[in-house]
């Protein structure tokens, strides 16, 4: 199994990145075709270290086609509470009905589960393996140059799926895109804190200058522990104060937090981009963060990515069976994921562009104006619809998308 220096490893579908989306794409590819599907992952352990706030909505989990989900769910929640800088708040969710609409998951367990599901379909894994370049011949992606345990070798595949996340280099090496502009990057820092005093039946979001261009989140892991983190738009950072320092300041000023203890640290970057024009070329598809499908308002990447990765896997299988991995054939993938996600991504991108211009006073008056509204559905769309009634000018650019 261990490739030697100069070896050539062959497979039908190569997935670069062993995160949940890479493994989901691999799983559905292997399930639907007879070819060999290989996942490479630069880390020694799938799912670790976690780089996620771990809050999800429950509705999309059925997409996964799995029997049980409870083992990777830490805490289900009834809804979300939004806070403005001066402390105005609004609640979203079916408060009266007591229905659970969201959950906080254990990402490393979740990620490993996605790998197990892929493994059951016959997917192979190569851990501790980095892609160092793509192999491109006459404009067609033929595989990657890789490094593992000190050995350099080639992995050749009929189709490469780039699932290498925010820091994707497959997409850049293949010339599908260049740099992400700083206004489309969130830089994030989080502690898992224990022994804190809060309402663990809700996720909590603090808006305004505590996290410029982003928000502070408190996502419950149990009755007295939570992921406490923030994301700040890169264009709002001048280098004088890091995201970690922003979070330390936030924690320090809240008594219900500063008595707690930190048991975990997480950092990372997230793209909050408009949908790309193209995420395929001959022999290549990109999925997940690497294809910039993170929700631009929430910064959530797993839900969109899983939906897209499943489509990617199905189209990959079809391409292998038809022996056609051309960009033209892979247009099926582009068409299917765009039909599901593109309109919403655009709408939330435009909403993000508006939200970043708001100052603390505006957040105070918006949250105050919405505080008496009953918003049942925990979705960006529901919030934007409520905003549009009180502040139509804030949504005028994308009102037709609501």
């Amino acid at each position: 199994m261990d490739p030697d220096e100069g070896d050539i490893v062959e497979c039908d579908v190569l997935v670069v990145g062993g995160g949940p989306l890479g493994n989901t794409a691999a799983r559905f590819a292997a399930k639907n075709c007879s070819g060999r599907v290989l996942v490479i992952e630069k880390r020694q352990e799938i799912g670790s270290p976690v780089r996620c706030a771990e809050g999800i909505s429950l509705e999309w989990l059925e997409e996964l086609e799995i029997e049980k989900i409870d083992h990777f769910i830490n805490k289900k929640v009834l809804g979300a509470k939004l806070y403005s800088p001066s402390g105005n708040q609004m609640t979203i969710g079916k408060e009266m009905a007591g229905d659970e609409v969201g959950a906080v998951i254990e990402r490393d367990t979740f990620d490993k589960e996605m790998a197990v599901l892929a493994g059951r379909e016959g997917v192979d894994f190569m851990l501790k393996t980095s892609a160092v370049d793509v192999i491109e011949e006459d404009g067609v992606i033929k595989g990657v140059k890789a490094r593992r345990m000190g050995n350099n070798f080639e992995i050749r595949a009929d189709l490469v799926i780039g699932a290498d996340g925010f820091e994707s280099q497959i997409g850049r090496w293949a010339g599908l895109y260049g740099a992400i502009p700083p206004q489309d990057i969130m830089t994030c820092f989080q502690y898992r804190m224990t022994n804190i005093d809060f309402d663990a039946d809700y996720t909590h979001f603090f808006l305004g200058s505590d996290a410029p261009g982003g928000y502070v989140w408190i996502f419950p892991k149990s009755e007295d522990s939570a992921n406490v983190g923030l994301g700040i738009q890169l264009s709002q950072l001048d280098g004088s104060k890091s995201p970690k320092e922003y979070l330390d300041d936030f924690i320090e000023k809240h008594d219900w937090l500063n008595q707690g203890q930190e048991v975990d640290m997480v950092s990372g970057g997230v793209s909050v981009s408009a949908p790309l024009d193209k995420v395929t070329k001959d022999g290549l598809m990109l999925v997940g963060d690497a294809s910039r499908v993170v929700d631009p308002i929430t910064g959530g990447g797993v839900a969109n990515g899983i939906k897209q990765a499943k489509i990617a896997g199905e189209v990959a299988a079809e391409a292998i069976e038809e022996n056609d991995t051309s960009e033209k054939f892979l247009q099926k993938y582009e068409n299917r994921w765009r039909e599901r996600l593109e309109n919403k991504l655009w709408r939330n991108y435009l909403a993000k562009e508006k939200a970043v211009e708001l100052d603390d006073e505006q957040f105070d008056s918006i949250i105050d104006a919405l505080s008496d509204k009953k918003i049942d559905e925990m979705s960006t769309e529901a919030i934007l619809k409520a905003v549009s009634e009180k502040y139509p000018n804030l949504v005028e650019d994308f009102e037709d998308m609501l």
Partner: protein
Amino acid sequence: MSLEINHDRCMHCGACVGSCPENSLFLREFILEVDESCVECGICVRACPVDALKLRGD
């Protein structure tokens, strides 16, 4: 000028890698590397969530 990586602070999260306009930073498992294509623009310094990157004058 050169980019200095403080490996004691680095969390290997890749926030700098995705932010780099020149694709000059690489994360290989738990090793962050910068190559000669770096133009010392400083975007990664701002992007780092934990202040692990600095531009240092020669």
